[in-house]
């Protein structure tokens, strides 16, 4: 027991059940407090002035008129956020993105901010700030930016990861390579080789709740931040560094979260709110508008990917090669690297090579989006695999099964896999009734696989038992996808009490040690591991208190089904003591009962999924309708199956949006044309079929209950599954997402024209 967190097979009592979510009523009645719902006495309204040009040097910012406007309490520019980053380039990029220092680098880049008594005054003040720009040429397309002739966004950008280091600055900030074997040899062994180029549009996470926070810095230099975030400890770390404060002087309290999907792992307006508060000496609330969310926070990379794969006639993949160009916004990123690592991760590749290029563009700074970078790479690779299957007349599922990675396979990005579920999800897909359902005219079926690493990391939890025996678990990892319900189940399981007896809350940064953010699908995996250790600590205490009450040695006390049980000679006439029994006399036996844990949750366990999708394409308009969708994914152990299914469905829904309609559209002027939900089309309910799910449970050996993260993998296969379905419905290979109606119609036309030309020739 104790700190041994390896998996042990067991039967579960609480884990695997589906109790009602603890946050449900407050959320549906509007009582739950989200980012913008927090208010302070004397609070000001903060608003940000954003650049309407994509690339320019700031020559002058004139703020005097705005400052003179009655009701304006503070106006800040980059000057009010002095550079404390001390050579840390990544942090400097964060700072520069929060408030442009010398240059604006994209449409929507913050240049100044005001705090005023009300919204109207704040808006009026923004209009009074005059910014003088020296305009530079801009580039927003990833392929254009990659060209040597492109306008160079950063004069100090010399590609890293290539030898020799280039002497000329370019928009390629880094190059990374992965793989093993000999691809030349591999392609020689192939009977069929397919090579294709793919492009994906830039998408936004599309969380419904915009970024919102209240910042308050007192004249004594200590501060508070109430904020909607995926990681308040990380927000504290970054904000305090950027403001030049000790971390412990800043307390960050998280709100409920209306979606994040990676976009709330990064700070945007928070240092601005704090700097405004520091200057105005009053609390300041900043809430982004939807337009600001689109223009200035969070999108994922637009990409351009080349894939080449070879296969033998009997279906053995002999080699795979991919070159991936990922736009990272105007700051260096490592997004292409993640694409290069994940591209072939589902397969046992004897010869594989991937190269990722990070490309700067005049678009907002790229941030993580659910399994960041993997969906685009999977789109490219899984499309080519489908084509290979067709070429050798093999079933697409069978080809994948034949080549799927297994325990012991060396992954395409290096490590050797432990027990994994790709084969199992594929077998389940093959047997699924969806695979055999009939299809009508203009309809097609597609399937695809996806991989994600998952992550664990630092976690810290406290378990406190009240005098009545009810239990509070305090965690420091934000509940984005239902972790509170799952963690209460885990505590109930481990302690042997009822689910209803346990309440899980999120502590602020003053109450616990550092916790990583809710990213890498780590929330339930890492927090539950820490919670289990907390419970085990508490059980040690509970047993020792029982021993005291009974006046027998501790080792004569066992913990069973939520009770201290006396064993051996002491057992006679001693009724087992419940948690409540022991808690009732805590004051007399040594004080409060608690269990505290701080761990690094290693061994998150990689995750795989297979998706199946049916689509109908209107041949005259190019419009696609998703008819049926099935997700099969390995969850290790589904703690609360309803939430797991919700994660599967959510990822699929987001993937469907990405595949069909979502994309950032830039004008020639470098400005974002569609910063709103009307023209940036995430799917609405009626666009989606009921998404079927099948949970597989292949225990993760590194978690006491076998849990794996489940949140991200589900967004990896959809682009490819849908593209394969559309291609099967139309007979035309789609190589660009989103497959919006105009784009599909154009592809159909081109195909028709080409086959006519062929006939004539």
């Amino acid at each position: 027991m104790g700190n041994d967190t390896k998996y042990k097979a067991r039967t579960f009592r609480a884990v695997g059940t589906r109790p009602v979510r603890p946050d449900g009523i407050d959320k549906v009645t509007g009582r739950a407090r989200y980012g913008a719902d927090f208010s302070m006495p004397g609070q000001l309204v903060g608003r940000v002035l954003r650049s309407d040009v994509p690339h320019a040097t700031i020559k002058k910012i004139e703020t005097a008129k705005a400052e003179a406007l009655p009701g304006v309490k503070a106006v800040i520019t980059a000057k009010d956020l002095p550079d404390y980053t001390d050579g840390d380039e990544e942090l400097y990029a964060v700072l520069d993105n929060c408030m442009a220092r010398k240059k604006v680098l994209y449409d929507g880049h913050a240049v100044a901010a005001v705090a005023a008594v009300d919204e109207k005054t704040a808006r009026a003040a923004l209009k009074l700030i005059e910014v003088e720009y020296k305009i530079h040429k801009h580039v927003t397309d990833v392929d254009e930016a990659f060209k040597p002739s492109a306008p160079v966004i950063r004069k100090d950008c010399f590609t890293t990861g290539v030898k020799p280091r280039p002497k000329k600055a370019s928009n390629v900030s880094a190059c990374s390579e992965f793989g093993h074997g000999n691809i030349k040899k591999g392609f020689k062994e192939a009977d069929v080789i397919i090579e294709r180029q793919f492009k994906t549009g830039q998408t936004h996470q599309g969380y419904i709740e915009p970024h919102a926070c209240v910042g308050s810095i007192s004249p004594d230099g200590s501060g508070d931040l109430w904020v909607c975030t995926q990681g308040h400890f990380v927000y504290r770390q970054m904000c305090s560094q950027l403001l030049g404060m000790d971390q412990s002087r800043l307390r960050v309290t998280s709100s409920e979260i209306g979606g994040g999907f990676g976009g709330k792992t990064h700070i945007w307006i928070e240092p601005v709110a704090l700097a405004l508060s520091r200057k105005a000496n009053q609390p300041v609330k900043v809430v982004m508008s939807r337009e600001e969310v689109f223009r200035a926070s969070g999108p994922t990379s637009a990409t351009s990917i080349d894939v080449k794969m070879g296969v033998t006639k009997d279906g053995r993949i002999t080699a795979g090669e991919a070159t991936l160009r990922y736009a990272s916004g105007p700051y260096p990123g490592s997004w292409a690297q993640l694409g290069a690592m994940t591209a072939f991760a589902c397969y046992d590749m004897p010869n594989v090579k991937t190269t990722g290029y990070e490309v700067l563009v005049n678009r907002p700074k790229t941030t993580a989006y659910r399994a960041p970078s993997a969906p685009m790479a999977a789109f490219a690779v899984e499309s080519v695999i489908d084509e290979l299957a067709k070429e050798i007349s093999m079933d697409a599922v069978d080809l994948r099964i034949k080549n799927s990675a297994q325990e012991g396979t060396q992954s395409s990005y290096g490590p050797v896999y432990g027990p994994i579920g790709i084969g199992a999800t594929l077998e389940a897909a093959r047997e699924h009734p969806h695979m055999k359902a009939p299809l009508g005219e203009n309809q097609g079926r597609g399937m695809a696989c996806g991989f994600w690493f998952n992550f664990g990391g630092q976690s810290c939890t406290s378990l406190n038992i009240a005098e009545d025996g009810s239990v509070t678990l305090t965690v420091g990892t934000i509940d984005v996808g239902g972790a509170r319900a799952s963690l209460s189940l885990v505590v109930a399981e481990e302690l042997g009490v009822e689910y209803e007896q346990v309440k899980t809350v999120i502590g602020d940064t003053g109450t616990l040690g550092f916790n990583e953010m809710t990213d890498g699908s780590r929330g339930t995996f890492a927090s539950s591991m820490s919670a289990i250790v907390s419970v085990r600590q508490a059980i040690v205490q509970l047993k020792s208190r029982a021993a005291q009450i009974w006046d027998i040695p501790v080792d004569a006390v066992e913990w069973k089904d939520g009770h201290a049980v006396a064993t051996g000679r002491g057992a006679k006439n001693r009724q087992p003591l419940s948690v409540a029994d022991i808690a009732a006399s805590a004051a007399k036996t040594g004080g409060p009962l608690a269990g505290h844990a701080q761990i690094v949750a290693d061994g998150a366990g990689v995750s795989f999924a297979t998706h199946i999708c049916d689509v109908e394409v209107d041949p005259d308009t190019g419009r696609s309708t998703i008819l049926r969708y099935t997700v099969l994914q390995d969850a290790g152990k589904a703690v609360h199956p309803t939430y797991v299914e919700g994660q599967f469905q959510g990822g699929a829904a987001q993937g469907i949006g990405w595949a069909l309609n979502e994309e950032y559209i830039y004008g020639k002027d470098g400005r974002l044309q569609n910063p709103g939900f009307l023209d940036y089309r995430i799917p609405v309910c009626s666009d989606l079929p009921m998404i079927d799910t099948q949970i597989l449970e292949i225990p993760n050996p590194n978690h006491p209950y076998g849990v794996r993260g489940v949140g991200e993998t589900s967004i990896v296969p959809p682009l490819a599954a849908i593209a394969n379905a559309v291609s099967n419905a139309t007979g035309v290979r789609m190589t660009q997402v989103p497959m919006s109606p105009p784009r599909v119609l154009e592809a159909l036309d081109e195909h028709l024209a080409m086959s006519r030309r062929r006939k004539r020739a």
Binding site: D118, E119, K120, R123, D620, N661, F677, L678, R681, P741
Partner: protein, 296 residues
């Protein structure tokens, strides 16, 4: 009449109880004056900071403007009638299924409870859903103003994107649909990438009347989102008259539709796409209208 200011956007809000009061308020108010019907365009634009009216005149408290009436000259739909009421009016639905469907496509359930077809018309968006259907139906707009009432063809209300022919002090009181003829039917179709909560990339509406033999005697074809204003395409209508909607007639009509298109390339669609799909939707709408008119 109530008057009060909102805090953040200083705007005078008037809520007249009668038509006369409303016209008076519109005529006498200074600055930028806007009628407020459902507000699903107006309030959204105000909140977005795109529009800062000085006075808004809410017409939803005027009882006479909030009803659908069957009159001798046909159905009358008041400017305060939310679209959801049109969908629940079975006689109206039976007579003008195309118009009701077009109105029913606006927004979502929440929007439906507020939005009006007159607001849809007067907002003067080239993509407004109900407008092509009203064109095809041959609707009239009844306008009230300081100089009294005037009744004009629906095609003459909108002048360009965001522009109407209404003069200072004028508002649309109601929409008048003609008496539904025997063996007639209308239909409206739009193309949106999403199923709802979306804006038409292209739309088409067709209204047909047949004789006993099933030959088209009257035809009106209208298009949306393919020009600065919705279009009534006379040539397209003509192509169907005297036919029984054979393939050749349909193709002539579709070609006339494509010819009439004068769209823009923008984030929502290309010129080519819009032009081409205009023909597709018009053909499909014609077939549907024909069916509804009893064509076999």
């Amino acid at each position: 009449m109530r008057r009060y200011d909102t805090r953040d956007i200083a705007v005078q809000y008037l809520a007249p109880q009668t038509m006369t009061e409303a016209v008076q308020a519109l005529a006498e108010s200074k600055g930028r004056v806007h009628v407020l019907a459902g507000g699903s365009d107006l309030l959204a634009r105000m909140k977005g900071g795109y529009l800062e009216p000085d006075v808004i005149v809410d017409i939803k408290r005027i009882k006479s403007m909030s009803v659908i009436k069957k009159r001798a000259e046909g159905f009358s739909i008041g400017a305060g009638v939310p679209c959801i009421h049109m969908g629940r009016h079975s006689a109206l639905k039976k007579a003008w299924p195309g118009v009701v469907e077009a109105a029913g496509l606006i927004g979502s359930d929440q929007i439906q409870g507020r939005c009006t077809i007159v607001g849809n018309l007067c907002n003067a968006s080239p993509a407004a859903d109900s407008v092509p259907a009203l064109f095809a139906a041959g609707a009239m707009a009844v306008i009230q103003g300081p100089k009294g009432e005037r009744i004009i063809n629906i095609e003459n209300v909108v002048k360009g994107p965001g522009k109407t022919s209404l003069k200072k002090g004028e508002m649309v009181e109601r929409i008048q649909l003609p008496v539904k003829q025997a063996r007639s039917g209308d239909a409206y179709l739009r193309l949106t990438p999403r199923t709802e909560m979306d804006i038409a990339i292209v739309s088409a509406s067709v209204n047909l009347t047949l004789d006993r033999a099933g030959t088209v005697t009257e035809a009106r074809v209208a298009l949306g989102a393919v020009a600065p204003v919705a279009l009534l395409v006379a040539k397209a209508g003509k192509a169907l008259i005297g036919t029984q909607l054979d393939d050749e007639a349909l193709e002539t009509m579709a070609a006339a539709c494509r010819d009439a298109c004068d769209p823009i390339d923008d984030k929502r669609g290309t010129i080519d796409y819009r032009t081409r799909v205009a023909g597709v939707l018009a053909t499909r709408a014609a077939k549907l209208a024909w069916q509804r008119a009893g064509g076999k």
